[in-house]
Amino acid sequence: MLKRTPFFEKHLANKGKIVEFAGYEMPVQFQGIIAEHTRVRTTVGVFDVSHMGRVEIHGNDRYSFVNRVTTNDVKALAPFQAQYSVFCYPNGGVVDDLVVYNLPDYLLLVVNGANNEKDTNWLLENKSGDVKIENKTMEIAQLAIQGPKAEIVLQKITDINLSEIKFYWATKAKVANVNMLISRTGYTGEDGFEIYFDTKYALSVWDAIFSAGKEFEITPIGLGARDTLRLEMKYCLYGNDIDKTTNPLEAGLGFVTKLDKPNGFIGSEVLKQIKATGISRKLIGFETMDKAIPRPHYEIYKDSQKIGFVTSGTSSPSLKKGIGLAYVKTEFSNVGSEFQIDIRGKKSKAIVVKMPFYKQGTRK
């Protein structure tokens, strides 16, 4: 039995193509992936991201606990500040990636929908001290409003000054007359916000946002464009670019891996060793010089030597060429390095390029 978010009837009304994702019936597209992708890059679009997991960590020991189970340093967060982070296994492999919000009285962890149950069990297994773990996924609706016009649109339906919210900061405010948590975060590379509120207001909030955004041709955005947008920014997708067989250092997530946290974290010992020895492969971004699209698992060769494999790939709507992410042996990972991708039996030329692929994003 697949779940539905509070916005399901809106997706049907907007003729969304519904597919199964993370145990939910979700829209993969509405008018088309390229049209939706372009809409977000030019004005504004709305993503139903209610399928993501929302877990609250309460208790006096919550900071020590979350610092033990994540790679980033939550103690560095000011009130209402957020950070991207990773859960690691003891061997350094990735359990999930997530965003952590430091809210008054609790930490909010926003995790991948597909990993909701796994992450919650993992948190419970590793719980220690005065900590209470509450999975609030089904009680909270979550939307992402993304694009250069996102702020102007939302400003129409809230009294707080949105320009004062900095990137990766949040606040509690009334939007469309509903109490919400609103953060300047997103997965697209454009400016934008994510809003969290009681599911009972889902439809009225949706209508208010779409009314406010009408002059900017606001449209709903499906999972297909969500993927092309994030890929153009080299944002990792769990299951493709990171999973239990990859560590955050080789995935390029060293910037959220604080190996010098005083009490360490699950996986930090192994990661310190890996850092000392040097990583043998790296997640890089490449462009293909032929028209064929690189896709996950396609093998990568340098002449006849296999040097890696594709983790994510697509045809970039903004760059109009094939792009992808891949793990390749470190010696072939520099910008400018060329290799061949086996695309269904044919060797296609590719080149490592400087990230992000899309360089005109409006994210602050």
């Binding site: 390229i34 297909g224 028209k291 709507p317």
Partner: protein
């Protein structure tokens, strides 16, 4: 609701055939292009000079998926639609018109009987005819 022109023949794998004398013009149906959505690449580079009915003669890439193209009839390759190199989205916009893919000289007209007519294809995809 997808278009299924009455005068064409169809395959179970969603190709259409327009018979012009002893030649067959081939493409993919409106239903197929709708399913694939944004088509970004049509690869007809590996099509052989002589094609057999049922052979894969190319691939069509959409942002989310790749699909094989299957020859509805056997015959000699006459021409390939070169416009699809620069504008593969012609397949989305005019699947029965400017989005045609290959033209084949039909080796055996009797093979056309193996194909579905518009009604048969309509039953297959459950949509109305044009």
């Amino acid at each position: 609701m997808s278009l299924i022109p009455k005068e064409l023949k169809y395959t179970k794998t969603h190709e259409w055939v327009k018979v012009e004398g002893d030649a067959a013009i081939i493409g993919i149906t409106d239903f197929a292009q709708e399913q694939l959505s944004d088509i970004v690449y049509v690869d007809l580079g590996s099509i052989s000079k002589k094609v057999n009915q049922g052979d894969a003669f190319g691939t069509i890439e959409a942002v989310k998926a790749v699909s094989d193209l299957y020859a509805p009839v056997s015959g000699e390759l006459l021409s390939i639609n070169e416009d699809l190199k620069a504008t593969p989205d012609l397949v989305n916009k005019e699947p029965y018109g400017k989005g045609w893919m290959v033209k084949i000289k039909i080796a055996d007209m009797a093979q056309l009987k193996n194909l579905l007519d518009a009604k048969g294809y309509e039953d297959l995809v459950g949509k109305s005819t044009h």
